[in-house]
Amino acid sequence: MSHFFTYAVLTSTVAAAIALASPFLLASLGETMGQRSGVINLGVDGIMLLSAFSTYFVALKTGSLLFGVLAGVGVGMVMGVITAFISVTLKAEQGISGIGIYLFGLGFSDLLFIKLVGTPLPINELTPIGIPLLDRIPAVGNMLFKQTILVYLAFLLVPVFAFVLNRTTYGLKIRACGENPAAADTVGISVARIRWSTVLIGCTMAGLAGAALLLYDGIFMENLTQSEGFIAVALVYFGAWRPLGVMGGSVLYGFTIAVVLEWKSLGIIPLSASDLAATAPAVITILALLLVARRFRQPAVLGKPYERGG
């Protein structure tokens, strides 16, 4: 334990936690928008896999990380159109159609990977950027201000999403559609249009999350996400459908992973028990779901398609 509480180890653990949290945060923020409007999108994991692959493929072929990220975001948007069509226009059961999207993404990303790439080669890493002056603050600078641009973007988007949801007309419409779509419809809000937009935002963010995850790992492999997209959906519940709460959940989740990894490498957790320790993030999430379910109420019509004349 004594080795853990040293300056170098502590700062690197926190820095790793922040970096690990950012893909979750990106995906969860997008999912928050969808869920506040009443749509639960369980296909996030499949979309992340597809966009992670396209980011990898484009970055590998063009050598440009920017093009890679753009491809990932683009794939997210395309999947957003499909998801919105299925769950808003066709009013399909969202829990199950999401699993369909997941299976499609899981199979298709690996199919393309084996067929088009074959032998995995690592791509360039995204270089961390130090924020001038702030990165010189002792400890905090190393922890927070020497990250990659996608990490900054993820955390900068938190106040943006909170502002949009809570302080704009658009946000009010989103919340109305999630709480009482019939009332929203009565005052002339197009429930379908609002939900289409939030699902598109959510899937685009999932695409960005897939790209961020890929750039963090630097290489693609089968089932790269390891259910991280589902965890992102769980983190929305964890964060009680509020962007700030979602951020807290993501950071806690990232921190748990980072601490377990660090303790493993320091030998604080014996090798034989390392698999058991790796259950910690999932167990913490379940416990958090328990707490949140008791204290907060989910959007009233979450997961229920809206039909006029009810």
Binding site: L42, G46, I86, L90, K91, A92, E93, G95, I96, S97, I99, G100, I101, Y102, L103, F104, G105, L106, G107, F108, D110, L111, I114, K115, N180, P181, A182, E222, N223, S227, F230, I231, V233, A234, Y237, S272, A273, D275, L276, A278, T279, P281, A282, V283, T285, I286, L289, L290, A293, R294, A300, V301, G303, K304, P305, Y306, E307, R308, G309, G310
Partner: protein, 409 residues
């Protein structure tokens, strides 16, 4: 709501066509659509779709060896599918099949390792029951969380999958590892060879067909009787259709919800046990992922159940079909170079199509019921739905009605 008043005869004929296409044709149609998209994918990737599907079909259904392999692949798939039928009928979306398979497999392997000397006739039922118990516990936890603490069961079951994989890795590398192996590079995470008394007997020599296939079909029959011809099954379905109404009728809703998940988990656990004692290596092995053990059957089973219209009996057909697709996937890969993962992608498409069609089918049915037609016609429209499209009546899929009650405060 469809418009009131008279409709032209043409419109009526059109809706009845629509109804026909959407009822009998809906499920085969969604498989067909998925296969066509698959052909497109193959063509884009530079493979000949005809060669591919021909190889897939041959590898799955032609010859006794292929049929045996398909049946063996279908058995655990069917058990998971039956479990999904039970839980989805009760409106509990159990996505935790993967974890329940793993826990069932572990319980089964541990029992087989602990009691190697029992005769087959005792040991095989015992290890299968152990597997069912392991899966049942792993299903009961999210069931209770949902019933008593209102924790979303989709999320908790997925989290429990993540916990199960680590428990499996821990047990197979630690307490349950085969420490008799002499490897210089550390131990492979696998159990000892299980006692031959626990192996499922081969039914037809020269094929892989083992007793597990028969057991799975019998269990599916039992689940059908349970769901549709017993009080327990009635309560499960009643809770699935409306928790409020079931409560009003005096059904203990929370207990029934837990029961649904427990039974569902038990079926998946049974499937996990079958994966262990029906395996060719007669060991339980991990490659560090759940898929390595389950072959994604926890998810494939969802496809089987949906395609089987959430009926355990139709799931037998559906499991055989998807077992064939999964078995033939390898032949597809050999013949065209298109990876077998294509089958997973196709399954995803089937799920999406089946649940999307559900809304159109419901709309077509209400449209067909609306015009003033003879009583016999309108009653037929309700009752004539073939069991294959039981999805239409499946509670988990019918949340449009729920939105009506949910929308008004």
């Amino acid at each position: 709501m469809p418009p009131e008043g008279s409709q032209s005869r043409w419109a009526q004929r059109r809706t009845s066509w629509e109804r026909f296409l959407l009822s009998w044709f809906a499920l085969p149609g969604s498989l067909l659509a998925a296969l066509l998209l698959g052909a497109l994918m193959m063509a884009v990737l530079g493979a000949n779709p005809l060669t591919g599907y021909h190889a897939l079909f041959d590898g799955a259904f032609v010859g006794s060896y292929a049929l045996g392999a398909t049946a063996v692949r279908a058995a655990p798939l069917l058990l998971v599918g039956v479990g999904i039928c039970i839980s989805f009928r009760a409106s509990m979306l159990n996505i935790g099949g993967e974890g329940q398979l793993a826990m069932g497999g572990l319980a089964c392997a541990a029992t087989a390792l602990a009691l190697p000397n029992l005769p087959s006739i005792v040991l095989i039922p015992l290890v299968l029951l152990a597997g069912a118990a392991g899966g049942a516990i792993w299903g009961a936890i999210p069931g209770a969380f949902k019933a008593y603490f209102n924790v979303n069961e989709i999320l908790s079951t997925i989290m429990l999958n993540l916990v199960a994989v680590q428990i499996m890795n821990y047990l197979l590398a630690g307490p349950m590892v085969d420490n008799t192996q002499n490897s210089t590079y550390g131990l492979i995470p696998e159990t000892r060879l299980l006692s031959s008394h626990s192996w499922l007997p081969i039914l037809i020599p020269g094929t892989q067909l083992h007793l597990g296939v028969v057991i799975a079909v019998v269990v599916a029959g039992g689940a059908y009787v349970l769901l549709f011809h017993t009080g327990v099954g009635f309560r499960l379905r009643a809770v699935g259709i409306s928790r409020e109404a079931a409560n009003y009728a005096g059904i203990k809703v929370k207990r029934t919800m837990v029961l649904a998940m427990t039974l569902s988990g038990a079926m998946c656990g049974l499937g996990g046990a079958m994966l262990v004692i029906g395996s060719i290596s007669h060991r339980m092995v991990t490659d560090g992922s759940l898929t390595g053990f389950t072959g994604s059957d926890g998810f494939n089973g969802i496809v089987v159940a949906l395609f089987g219209g959430l009926s355990p009996l139709w799931s037998v057909v559906s499991a055989f079909l998807f077992g064939g697709l999964l078995t033939g996937g390898d032949a597809l890969q050999v013949a065209t170079g298109v990876p077998a993962d294509m089958v997973t992608a196709l399954e995803g498409l089937v799920v999406v199509f089946v649940v999307s069609l559900e809304y159109m089918r419901r709309r077509a049915r209400t449209a067909a019921l609306a015009p003033p037609v003879t009583p016999s016609r309108s009653s037929r429209a309700k009752d004539d739905v073939p069991p294959l499209v039981g999805v239409g009546r499946a509670p988990g899929l019918g949340s449009h009605e729920a939105s009506r009650t949910g929308a008004s405060p």
